[in-house]
Symmetry: C2
Subunit: 139 residues, 2 copies
DNA sequence: GGAAGTACCAACATGAATGTTAGTATAGGC
DNA sequence: GCCTATACTAACATTCATGTTGGTACTTCC
């Protein structure tokens, strides 16, 4: 039961047809689904952390860089561009010297950030349970 | 306000000390925090999808492979080992020929899967909103 | 005057994640 | 007998994310 047929078909027979016609809902289990790209951006190494921080309010670039431990300038810029491109992050550049740019979440981004932070919170809280499982395994 | 000081310090001054002493809670914003690794496993390209599928019930290896569109054998095995190592997935191998192995979620894994699926659901449902944002930008 | 801060980008280098192929031992269907 | 299916692993290849360095044009602090 529950075994889909097409192997890499755009839409395996999960709950596809009828629902997708109504809602245009994506299907992450389908290899070709555009949702996959959004998932990659959201779950990229820094995407999760950036969204979490921005959920706490507007930040400037260097401020984000200091807050997110270990991120390089290049990857922070890259990540912000991904999220901006997906309509999750709003970039406002004040035309002054030296540069002043403010990053914040769009309404869409705020929704995504809530989901992402929920996952992150769970990890932080349950870290010790995972470590316990690891120790139980390795002896 | 809210600007942490140490750049890659193990524990920036967010909400650290007092809380971590009470709960041993991880801090994903700290570069060295072990939570980072769990996050990587959970948000790896296939981790999210595997957890989603396993939330729907016990699966065998080949069954998973067919259900998760586009995953290679190697990466499926790798991902399952990561998740098993973190105590999220339970692997039960029946000693028969040909091999028969069943994968399911541990209680810990079920919690994680719920979070992850919540995010995935959000993406699938809001895919069109993201695409609208993209078109608004480029078009 | 020199250093540091701002918000990046381009070029190059690296490393980890991912993909590809081949192989294992055996059973069952045709 | 041959093909498929099972659940993988090892070796090798590749691609992409990520890191590193150097540069920008200007200001303020020391």
């Amino acid at each position: 039961m529950n075994v889909s047929i097409g192997r890499a078909a755009p839409h395996p027979g999960r709950r596809g047809r009828r629902l997708s016609r109504r809602l245009r809902r994506g299907d992450l289990l389908a290899a070709a689904c555009p949702s996959r790209e959004i998932l990659r951006h959201l779950t990229s190494r820094w995407g999760v952390l950036v969204l979490m921080v921005l959920e706490g309010g507007t930040h400037r670039f260097a401020q984000l860089r200091r807050t997110v431990g270990g991120v390089s300038e290049r990857m922070l810029a890259q990540t912000l561009q991904w999220l901006e491109g997906d309509g999750l992050v709003l970039r406002v550049a004040l035309d002054v010297v030296p540069p002043h740019v403010e990053y914040s979440l769009t309404p869409l981004g705020r929704e995504a950030a809530r989901k992402v932070r929920s996952l992150a919170d769970w990890i932080e809280v349950n870290l010790h349970r995972v470590e316990a499982a690891r120790n139980a395994r390795s002896g």
